[in-house]
Amino acid sequence: MTAPVSDQDLHAFVDGQLSAGRRLEVQRWLVDNPDAQQRLADYQLLNDELFHAFEPVLTEAIPPRLMPDNLLAQHNQPLWQKVAVVAFFTVMGSALGWILNDQYRSQQPLAEAPKVINLQMDLARPALVSHQVYTPEVVHPVEVRQDQQKHLLGWLSKRMKTSIKAPDLNSIGFGLMGGRLLPGDNAPAAQLMYENSSGQRLTLYLKKNPQADQQTGFRFMKSDGVNSFYWIDGELGYALTAPLDKEQLFDAAQQVYHQLSF
């Protein structure tokens, strides 16, 4: 005997918050209830549109005034300290200005440094941000789903201007869900998302490397609840992030590395 389908069930249906069993019951019930089907379609459309309307905010540059390091400085200082700091830097700044100005004039302008990807700032950090931002999504974890895999990889390759392949991680229990394109600040980036049967999500972040002949070994980063390995292999930088322990993630990273470079 199944419970009658309620409004709550319909909301939970579009929000991905029904158990698999109940979901099936609701699906069967929907067949004979076209009005409810229409309502679901409307709710789904509202979800999609709301999500897309606000999604661009995620990749906007963060205003400096919101960066925690800047906030902390303003926040914990008593007023007299702020005044002292301002006064100090004003005096020192003027003094420095005098000295530097003289030195600068005698110097040739610096040659522009070659653009090298900074592993920590350009690869590991943005990969972690995108992992944290997108893996909790229930309704829209990925932009293009895995069932359109050919389209997904073709699209990402075109936008990244290099061939993108999705490594097969089924041997460690992770199936490809899909991917999305991300605006990197200096190079395009993409995220592929994988999920295992217990709902853990793993992301592979890829970023175009301006120096195509560069290679690095695996580097490891640990943050709250997730671990990452990141490395550069020729045209692309990679960061693999998941809530797995270091050894498991290392196996996964090796798989990715071997599948993508050979």
């Binding site: 709550q8 925690p68 902390l72 909790p136 829209h140 943050s223």
Partner: protein
């Protein structure tokens, strides 16, 4: 390398900004709310248990700040800038066929409590239980706010955008 609290906070900023933007249409005022929230998080740092869900905690802080802000606004005779702007925006928009804009406008017209629940569920992807914790309301209340929010948005769409919705048929 262990990430410190400031860096963990930084990772949450994009999602906090998105949420603030869904509550307050004016981007500058929305960022003000984010800034208040981050400052509070820094000063309440010791109350957050390492390993618990930082994102949910931050959203709870932001909820409380915003509720206080609304109370202050309601007491003050001055019309807050954001509401002023919202009503202007509403006046301009009906002719526009842009579905996405219409949906944002409709969302801005919802009462705060409904808008909040809808944003937390549909945009931020929180579970109903998490939304109940963030908003400090029983889950039944959350569900009925969600229902009213979605139903009134559907009604709002029915006039000129309905044909587009019905075209599935």
């Amino acid at each position: 390398m262990k990430i410190d609290f400031n860096q963990q906070l930084e990772l949450q900023i994009p999602s906090l900004r998105r949420y603030a933007r869904s509550l307050i249409a004016d981007p500058v005022l929305a960022d003000d709310l984010v800034q208040d929230c981050l400052e509070r998080a820094l000063s309440y740092q010791s109350r957050w248990t390492q390993g618990s869900d930082l994102r949910a905690w931050l959203f709870t802080l932001m909820h409380n700040l915003y509720v206080n802000q609304i109370r202050r606004w309601n007491r003050s005779p001055i019309v807050p800038l954001s509401e002023h702007m919202e009503s202007e925006a509403v006046a301009e928009k009906p002719q526009q066929a842009d579905l996405s804009l219409q949906i944002q406008t409709l969302m801005n017209q919802l009462p705060f409590q409904q808008r909040e629940v809808l944003a937390l569920v549909a945009i931020e992807g929180f579970s109903y239980q998490e939304v109940a914790d963030i908003a400090g309301a029983p889950i039944g209340t959350v569900m009925s706010r969600l229902h009213r929010a979605r139903e009134s948005m559907r009604q709002g769409l029915s006039s000129d955008l309905r044909p587009e919705l019905r075209r599935i048929k």
